[in-house]
Every structure is written in C-alpha cells, then in structure tokens.
Symmetry: D2
Subunit: 119 residues, 4 copies
Amino acid sequence: MTELTEHVRDFARERDWEQFHTPKNLAMALAGEVGELLAEFQWLTPEQSAAVMTDADLGPRVRAEIGDVTIYLVRLADVLGIDLVQAAADKLADSGRRYTVEAAHGSVAKIVGDRPAGS
Amino acid sequence: MTELTEHVRDFARERDWEQFHTPKNLAMALAGEVGELLAEFQWLTPEQSAAVMTDADLGPRVRAEIGDVTIYLVRLADVLGIDLVQAAADKLADSGRRYTVEAAHGSVAKIVGDRPAGS
Amino acid sequence: MTELTEHVRDFARERDWEQFHTPKNLAMALAGEVGELLAEFQWLTPEQSAAVMTDADLGPRVRAEIGDVTIYLVRLADVLGIDLVQAAADKLADSGRRYTVEAAHGSVAKIVGDRPAGS
Amino acid sequence: MTELTEHVRDFARERDWEQFHTPKNLAMALAGEVGELLAEFQWLTPEQSAAVMTDADLGPRVRAEIGDVTIYLVRLADVLGIDLVQAAADKLADSGRRYTVEAAHGSVAKIVGDRPAGS
C-alpha cells in the first residue's frame, strides 16, 4: 500500500498533474470511476453480479474499474495526508459501537433506517 | 490491508450481513459513501478543499468518509476475490502506457479528451 | 418545468447562493443527492425495490430524494443554459439510432457491452 | 415532460428492457450517468466550468450527459409512479422552511454543516 501510494504520487508528478489534484477534483474523479464500476453491475441480477468474475468479458473490466477506484482513493488520501487503512480501521471500530452484533444481526431495516428522512 | 480485509469480513459475518453483500449491492454502498464524500467538498473553492484537513469540523468528517469508502471498497474486492493493491498497480502500469510522460505532460485536455462524446 | 426552474433560481438568488452554483459545484451536489438515493436502494432485493413506494417509511424518503436530485439537475441545466427536456429528447433520438429495436431487443449483453474495457 | 416520460417508456418497452428497469437498477444507471457528467468537470477550474458550454468539444458532451441523466431520472420516476416536478416543488418548499432566507444568506457553512459527522 505504501509502495502503491508512492507509485501513484510519482505518476502524477512525472506528468505535472499535481496542479489538477486538489482534494475536490480527486473526489470527483473517484466518483466518476465509481460510476463506471456501477455501470458494469447495473443490469445484472444479484446472482449474475455474484458470478461476475467468472465472465471472460466482465471479470477483467470489473477488476480494471476496481483498480481505477483504488488509484484515485489512494491519491486522494495521500493528498489529504490521511492513512487510508487507519481511517478505515477507526471507522470500523466506530461502526462496531453503533451497530452492535446483537442489535444489527441480519437486519436490513437497521441499516436502511440509519438515514433520517430529508437528509 | 490484509488485516483490514479480514476485519471487515468478520464484521459482516458476525452481523449476518453476508446475505446483503452481493457485488452489486456493495458497489451501490460504495457509491453512496462516495456521494457523502463529494457532499463535503461540493461548495468549497479549490483552495478551501486543499486546506480541508486543517478545519476542526470538516477534517474529521472527511477522514471518516474516506474510512467508509475504504471499508466498502475493501469488502467489495474481498467478495470479488480481487487483490486491491495488485489491481491498482496493474491499472497504473496500463495507464502509464496510454498516457506517456511526454504526451500527457501538464495537459488537462488529454485527460478530459479521454472520453468520447456520447459515451 | 419552466416554473420549477424559475422557482429554484429564485431560491438560490434570495439566499445569495449563486456564488456557489458553478456547473462544477452543482454537478457534485447532484452526484451527492444521487448517492443518497442509491443508499435507499442498496440493500433491497429487486422485488423490494419494485415495491418501495408502498413502504410507509421508505416511500416518502425515496420521493424526497428524487425531489432533491431533480432540483439540482434543473438548477445545473439552468446555469448551463440547457433545455433539459430537449436535451433528453435529442439524446433519446440518438440512442434510438444506436440501439435499434431489432438489435437491442431484450438484450442486456448489448447494454453491458456498450462500454469498452478500460474506459 | 409528460411527452418525454411516455417517449422513454415506449423506448424501453419496444426493446423489451422493462425487465431490467427495476427502481434499483435505474437508480444505478442514473448514478452511472451522473458519474460521466462529473468526469467532464473534474479537472476544470471553477471559471472553466462556468464557460464549458462555449467549448466546441465539451459543450455538446455536457449537454448529451445532461440528456442521459434526465432520461434515467424520468424513467425512474415513471417506474416509481412519482411526479418529478411535483416532488421537486415539494422538496423545495420543505428546504425553504429549513433554510430561511435570513439564516442561509450567503452562508456555505450552513450548507456544509447540514450533514452530521458520521452520517
């Protein structure tokens, strides 16, 4: 991960792209790549989506999109000075306190109900 | 990263959430979290976005959103059996061939022009 | 639609929000609202999603999110000087030429295959 | 707008695409198109984004993406049985009560601060 972060940083610097890489722009680029990832899944049934990596055409495309998303996320975190893995671990610990195993067990209602109307 | 992947996997299993974690659903959840990240940046100037981590209110929120995005990306890659870091490294190597340092130097047109009209 | 466009424009002007409403910022705000819409659907089965409006809790939330998405889309089009309905009609005519009834009939492959790998 | 809705409905029916058009799938398709719209703006400065329609290359592309976004939004609302314009008008009235002209005047903090940390 550290190596990837440096690799992406070098990639941007060599091309003089640092001028474009504000956090705002990188968040947009990340969202654009996630949109392409969504497009691969949008018409698939749950079952088709679960088997997507066995498809000779879709599998490599999904992997490439996951790669793109990761590149921009790594770059965004680097520019912000955030340790990606630590930020995720902290958030997971926080979520563990909010969704205890007992209360959240198998409950989609709990998850769906997390966002108040009008938010 | 391996540890985080296992941590997220355990988190889902303990709550019996694996039934909801199809690649399609996780891609949507990832996009939803990226939407929340975008919302933090949407009204900021480029300069404000560059200084976002120095803001006592915004900084921790951006870090938490980055954490959420990472959690879902790690979980999605795990469910798909994709090595996140390797997928990104492969994609970066591919992009390096498509955007050579010479051709892409400082050029936003090159980047913007990557997507054909009507795509 | 014309009335809504003017209503949204007045809403922004009265609050002196025009300074924030660049096309770039509005595109981000639109994406943020779409992210909230996605979040309402992310864990639902296809069947649950089809029945979402009959749910006393989810139905009004989905309608409110659709409202938010529409507001930002209308505002973005207004700022860009684009006639939303005409732009959609033109694009639909274009898509009709690209996806003829004969070739596209019932085919998800055709739709999925529209995006080249690595795009 | 009514005409466009019917036009999009016929377009889907003629191609036997109704089977793919669950609200969940259409929300994803909408998000995918918004992702493409974001991609057009991601590297632009605020000033460049404000002038995007005067660009011979970018202008038509942005208009086409706006068209795509509108098509899927109209289709989604149709499938859900939601009146798009009315949903937006209702939400705008609701927002008017939450962001009064006095309190919200020129304030980005108010807007940014609308989402609680961890949401």
